[in-house]
Symmetry: C3
């Protein structure tokens, strides 16, 4: 069994941002030399997500509005977590809806994907250094 580990670093300019990382994950699979296996991609932070959906800017706008309606950023004082001095309680909630991680199949050295699947880093408390972990096992 082979295994491979890599980190990707982000520092977004906006509090909320979606970044397509499909190419970087495929490059990690290439570097690993693994042809058949499973690839875990997870946020190493608790206010951001890794998820799979469509690379369509209108949809990303819909996600932003929808998540804001389900877990609004303001009023800050609405959340007890923000009594710690943080203002990011909403980001912890949004991340639960979008998920922490994806596990994807590696087949014949490629991401084994349907026609529209793309992997995104979803930031909900940006403007600071964040990391995503890629861990691949297989052979």
């Amino acid at each position: 069994m082979k295994n491979f580990r890599k980190e990707i670093v982000f520092q977004t300019k906006n509090r909320v941002e979606f970044i397509n990382i499909t190419g970087e994950v495929q490059r990690a699979i290439d570097e690993s030399g693994i042809k058949e296996g499973l690839c875990l991609v997870n946020s190493m932070h608790i206010t951001s997500s890794v998820f799979i959906n469509d690379d369509e800017s209108g949809l990303h706008n819909d996600f932003r509005i929808w998540l804001e309606s389900l877990a609004p950023h303001e009023p800050i004082s609405k959340y007890r977590h923000n009594l710690t001095g943080e203002d990011n309680a909403d980001a912890h909630l949004k991340r639960q809806i979008m998920g922490r991680e994806v596990v994807v199949a590696v087949t014949n050295g490629k991401l084994d994907f349907g026609p529209w699947e793309q992997i995104f880093y979803g930031e909900f408390d940006g403007c600071r250094r964040k990391r995503v972990l890629i861990k691949i096992i297989g052979e």
Copy 2:
């Protein structure tokens, strides 16, 4: 390390539908000959889900109503994604709540499940051909 890959194809009659695929996943494990490992089951599409919950029709009705309240299909014009000519923006949102994939343990050649766990394909934009991927690694 062994690995095994299989696709299941669906074409639902309704826009929203939940289909129990536990038997098909266990059959894939049987075919694979893998006794100990991990089994990934994921939708290959971005408007449907694979999830684990109860096989109870009342609950499935509750899911349908609840998801519709959180991410309504109409008005279509509410979503910017639908400006692309699609009418399925809500399906992309519903799928985030229900999830893209499950990873399940394989122990002694069987799905290692609690008493009520059943695997479902959750369709939110049906009446077209869709696929689910099963990828198993182990030995």
Copy 3:
């Protein structure tokens, strides 16, 4: 390839409760002797979750209130599932938002985590015996 399996048992005193199980998962990794691999941690029940977020009591209170607003326990009669004699339909919904499972990387024999990541068992229909499964594969 090595594999390792372990169950953790819970019986909470409250209907809704969040329990930090990070130490127990690390102990399972230690027992397994696996240095590089993937570790699945999942609820074996369909009214509870395993998820990764912050170990901060204010945030857990926010989770409780937020989940109650998205999927209220009462009125019991609101849910068709509860016609079966259960009163836990809301717990089945809450668990979909928080997720069934996490898959975490094992690197050099340790949980490969960012600075604040902690694993929680999230109970939404407590006061009865429940189990969490840990399955680790790797070498």
